[in-house]
Amino acid sequence: MQASRARLFKEYKEVQREKAADPDIQLVCDDSNIFKWTALIKGPSETPYEGGVFQLAFAIPEQYPLLPPQVRFLTKIFHPNVHFKTGEICLDILKNAWSPAWTLQSVCRAIIALMAHPEPDSPLNCDSGNLLRSGDIRGYRSMARMYTRLAAMPKKG
């Protein structure tokens, strides 16, 4: 508990210091609880998520960084490796390939990379995975684009 708090505090300081370095990621710690964080990440360019801003929720276990943070999308997203309802993310570094060498910041970068490079063979969203697996790139892109517009872009007017 004490160790995880100390580590998170270091990450907090690093995030403040590096704010400008990664304009695609904005990590914010809960005012009253260092084990709760949120992040705003920009959808990577040349993907259906471009122009969208996606919110992630981090719940950090007491054994952090020996155990990974639990991360999910709060913003609706149509992606093969993200559960459409719960926002759960299928990413190995958040499960069995986690190591303390990762940070909240680098986890965000890995999630952005996952958005750009979906893995349709281990889908949490089968519809999305099936579109990609059947080669219907256009269908996948248009669905993903629609949800980006609906959920991840500021409403006009």
């Binding site: 020996l66 069995n96 060498a101 990762w102």
Partner: protein
């Protein structure tokens, strides 16, 4: 871990199998504010894993008590005759063993206890100074590879703390009994394991050219992928590559005695062992400091396929 994003791509694919969707139809955009973390399916799996680990923990502590070698013989009483014969041979040179939990970290936990126990018993201050210097070098290696200090420094300081405690004559000095307790303490033991994993990974990456062919033969992955997937995560088992790297990085010779079913044609059984001698693989680091390596290494481990334990010479 400031790796280009493209390098993270292959690792992502390894996650297959851990996720599946029971509810494939996109529903309406549901409010997720009241989402219940406990309904995570992968979370359930991880909880089950930790339950299995807890069950295992009840059977064997991270590091067990010292047992006479006869307990090994008893274990194989009705087992393979080659193994029975080899255990007899083992008994000619070794008097006792100390078991470790088979949780994928057994090599590191065995090494931790065996090394610290040696320092505690020998009070070899020159060796302590030497390893502290090597550890400082390991820190620089990681920094040079782009690791952010705060990701590894806590693990380093927990090990240094243990090292300083086994040196007697300070307020913080600990007894053998306390060393055993600490080695069984989840937090201390796991942090030391992670320290070794960082050191091992740093050494492999630093000498990627040397390790690359071994890794390619082992897993068909790149050095970076190997370190990320098979060295740095807790619970990933150790092989020749890991042991070579850790022994080289810390400058500590390690003897591994093999207890397996292999036999040779001549009919006479031998107990094979392999000595990992630091520097012997890397000409640039000079073998000079270890030229007197014909002394027996003070860390001796018993390897049974898939598991490491501590062996005590007679």
């Amino acid at each position: 871990m400031e790796k280009p994003l493209s390098e993270q791509e292959p690792a992502v694919g390894e996650s297959s199998g851990s996720c599946s969707n029971p509810n494939p139809i996109p529903g309406s955009i549901a409010a997720m504010d009241d989402f219940d973390w406990a309904s995570f399916r992968d979370d359930d799996i991880m909880q089950q894993h930790s339950a299995i680990r807890a069950e295992e923990a009840a059977k064997v502590p991270f590091v067990g008590d010292k047992e006479p070698l006869s307990s090994l013989a008893a274990e194989f009483q009705s087992g393979n005759p080659i193994l029975q014969e080899k255990i007899k041979l083992l008994g000619e040179q070794y008097g006792a063993l100390r078991r470790t939990r088979g949780d994928g970290n057994c090599f590191y936990r065995s090494f931790m206890f065996s090394y610290l126990e040696h320092i505690l018993e020998s009070q070899d201050k020159a060796e302590v100074d030497r390893i502290v210097e090597n550890i400082e070098q390991c820190k620089k290696t990681l920094q040079g590879l782009g690791y952010v200090d705060f990701t590894f420094e806590d693990f380093f300081s927990v090990f240094i703390e243990q090292l300083e405690s086994v040196v007697q004559g300070n307020e913080t000095s600990i007894s053998h009994e306390e060393l055993l307790q600490r080695s069984r303490d989840q937090m201390i033991s796991d942090y030391v394991v992670m320290f070794f994993r960082f050191v091992t990974s740093g050494e492999i990456r630093k000498r990627a050219e040397f390790f690359e062919p071994f890794i390619a033969g082992l897993t068909n992955s790149t050095v970076d992928q190997f370190c990320k997937a098979s060295v740095e995560p807790m619970g990933e088992e150790s092989d020749h590559v890991h042991i070579t790297a850790l022994s080289d990085a810390l400058g500590v010779p390690i003897r591994v005695v093999y207890l397996d079913r292999s036999s040779c044609d001549s009919g006479t059984l031998n107990i094979n062992h392999h000595d990992f001698v630091p520097g012997s693989n890397s000409p640039q680091e000079g073998a000079a400091q270890n030229s007197d390596a014909n002394t027996t290494p003070f860390v001796t481990l018993l390897y049974r396929p898939g598991h490491y334990e501590i062996l005590y010479p007679k």
